[in-house]
């Protein structure tokens, strides 16, 4: 078929006029509607000075742990890899492992419990300090986050974390995800990952999955807000943190 220059210019001209005109018309009828990219943050987003988590060991049961771990790992597409090159964001470990060097044979029942462990979202995070590309960074609200697209996979952060909270994707994780959740991106091989305090949930006004699934045993809140539920709990009960002597100022508190 032949489209000569004249026809081509005609079609092109009409298309441009329609395109521009269409846009203008849309702007007149529904002003601002096309500027989705310029929308402000979700008004329902949770705002905090410094997010933290309290784990109430009186309410905490193995069933709570299972529910929390399952919810987190499902929604975040954490692969289930049955080798020593595994990935985990949140898991259970005995007291002696979660709180090494604080052994106390006379400690009673709390020393025989399993403790849930995850990223502590340290106020002074060594992983952020050592990252050579700022792929791991700290937000103003204290959440320690990762940019999976900037990470070069040097694993300096894994050496830097004193809590063993970080995992590396030694291989493509996707074949190890039983059911893919559409809520969170899957990762590619070669990058590090960890708990992100459900930043994607906070942004739409929801609590972290583990807190939601824990039936009140895990309480998420603003550590810097004296009126928060979290602060009330921390005032009323004795709490311990992991390796506080390292100066990392971890923001996960265990109420015992």
């Amino acid at each position: 078929m032949g489209v000569d220059r004249r026809d081509f210019l005609k079609i092109a001209g009409i298309s441009v006029a329609l395109g521009v005109g269409g846009g203008v018309g849309f702007q007149l009828l529904r002003p601002g509607h096309l500027d989705a990219a310029q929308e402000g943050p979700n008004p329902r987003a949770l705002k905090g000075q410094r997010w933290g988590m309290a784990i109430d060991m009186k309410k905490f049961t193995p069933a709570t742990a299972r529910a929390a771990i399952e919810a987190c790992h499902y929604y975040h597409n954490v692969p289930l890899i049955p080798t020593k090159q595994n990935v985990k964001w949140i898991w259970l470990a005995p007291y002696a492992n979660v709180f090494p060097e604080t052994d106390n044979p006379q400690a009673g029942e709390y020393a025989s419990l399993q403790y849930i462990t995850m990223c502590n979202h340290c106020n002074n995070p060594p992983c952020v300090r050592v990252c050579p590309t700022k792929a791991t960074f700290q937000r103003a609200d204290g959440v320690v986050m990762m940019d999976f697209h900037r990470c070069i996979g040097c694993r300096f952060c894994m050496a830097g974390c004193p809590y063993g909270s970080r995992s590396f994707n030694f291989q493509d994780p996707r074949p190890f995800i039983k059911k893919e959740s559409p809520n969170f991106p899957t990762r590619s091989r070669g990058v590090v990952e960890k708990c992100n305090f459900c930043a994607e949930r906070l942004a739409v006004g929801e609590l972290p999955y583990c807190a939601e699934a824990s039936g009140g045993a895990m309480v998420f809140g603003d550590v810097d807000n004296a009126g928060s539920e979290l602060r009330k709990m921390l005032r009323g009960r004795y709490s311990i943190r992991r390796k506080p002597n390292l100066g990392t100022d971890p923001q996960v508190y265990y109420l015992v």
Partner: protein, 386 residues
């Protein structure tokens, strides 16, 4: 000058071809790793750095040791080293290139390596390691090449090269100090959290590097009849002697501080390495071999009569190499990760593919070293023939 590398004996070409074969095998293995990921290595969630980073650490030391020739020769006008300083500088070049390759093959996302420059992060020691390693490579390339070229033309080296040579002295110290800081600044790793890490690294470097140079000197003498001179070997041997004694001494300082204070997070690593921990003892025979090699080397080196015997000196240098290589190339990295921050134990051993990639990188370094030494010795012998 490079044309000197283009003509050589049958043995020379056979050696180059053998190296290329190993490089090809290593590159093939790397392609497997590139496509599948670091899953093909023996590393794990608990031992997240392994053989690659350990070799990198060891070779930074070999690279830094060039300063043991440059400093006496240029600062103290110690003429005896005039014939071999270039060999030290060229060994540094080959070593730094291997270091950079080992870091590259260790990355999960090697295609993103330039992010380190695209998003410079001065609070990361790795950023500074990138700066000092690349800087050291350039300094030695320029200093080595310019002085060798001047020598070939029978003229004095240009004046501007002097400050660069002087700069290479503190810079050599910096590469191993910054590399030690990679480990020594991490709050949760008791084995590495020690101010003596950088001195320990430097001491073992100044033992290993000159020991390698003595052995290379023997080899060069045998193959090309280029003789560094009896006195040069003897001075290098003295440097090795002092450095290996310091290496063992610093280790004992560490053992005292850790053992007497008895803080578990520091002590468990030494326990794991030297006695085994909760039944895990993979590295025990290795670290004792290292210690025994070091002690025997000291006995052979301290006694002037054995030290001045070239054959015994050769044996001592091999022992020094074994001692320092096991210390950094095997124990230092894996020992720091076992037990992990939760006091759990996962042991580490490299896989076959991981070893092939390691051999490939070493072969690349040897290829570069061979070509550079061919050029340097060619120039030296041409000049002497005149």
């Amino acid at each position: 000058m490079l044309e000197k590398a283009l003509s050589g004996s049958k043995l020379y070409w056979a050696w180059l071809i053998a190296l290329v074969v190993v490089i090809a095998a290593g590159f093939g293995s790397y392609l497997v790793q590139y496509n599948k990921g670091l899953v093909i290595t023996g590393m794990s969630r608990d031992v997240s750095w392994g053989f690659y980073i350990a070799q990198f650490t060891f070779l930074v030391g070999v690279a830094a040791s060039a300063v043991m020739l440059v400093l006496p020769y240029y600062l103290h006008h110690y003429k005896t080293f005039g014939r071999i300083t270039i060999l030290g500088e060229f060994l540094a070049i080959a070593s730094v290139i291997m270091c950079i390759l080992f870091i590259t093959v260790d990355l999960g996302k090697p295609t993103r390596i330039l992010n380190v420059m695209l998003h410079p992060t001065p609070n990361s020691v790795l950023f500074w390691d990138m700066v000092v390693l690349n800087g050291y490579l350039i300094i030695n390339l320029v200093a080595g090449w310019v002085t060798l070229e001047a020598e070939r033309k029978q003229v004095a080296p240009p004046g501007w090269i002097k400050p660069i040579i002087y700069l290479s002295i503190p810079w050599a110290v910096s590469i191993h100090t910054v590399t030690a800081f990679l480990y020594a600044g991490l709050p949760g790793r008791g084995y590495w959290l020690t101010a003596i890490m950088a001195p320990r690294f430097l001491a073992s470097a100044f033992a290993a590097g000159p020991a390698v140079l003595i052995l290379l000197g023997y080899l060069v003498k045998k193959l090309t009849r280029f003789d560094a001179g009896k006195e040069a070997f003897e001075t290098l041997a003295k440097i090795v002697t002092y450095a290996i004694i310091l290496h063992i001494f610093f280790f004992l300082l560490e053992v005292f501080t850790v053992g007497y204070s008895a803080i578990p997070s520091h002590m468990t690593h030494l326990e794991y390495l030297y006695f085994g921990y909760h039944g895990y003892s993979m590295l025990v025979p290795w670290v004792w071999t290292a210690l025994a090699s070091g002690v025997v080397a000291i006995i052979l080196l301290v006694n002037p009569r054995t030290r001045q015997n070239p054959a015994v000196l050769g044996v001592a240098c091999v022992l020094v190499f074994v001692c320092t290589w096991i210390d950094k190339g095997m124990g230092m990295i894996a020992g720091g990760f076992v037990p992990n921050p939760l006091h759990e134990i996962t042991e580490y051993a490299p896989t076959g593919l991981e070893l092939m990639i390691t051999f490939g990188v070493y072969a690349t370094g040897l290829l570069i070293l061979t070509i550079l030494y061919k050029v340097a010795i060619g120039v030296k012998q041409e000049e002497e023939a005149l």
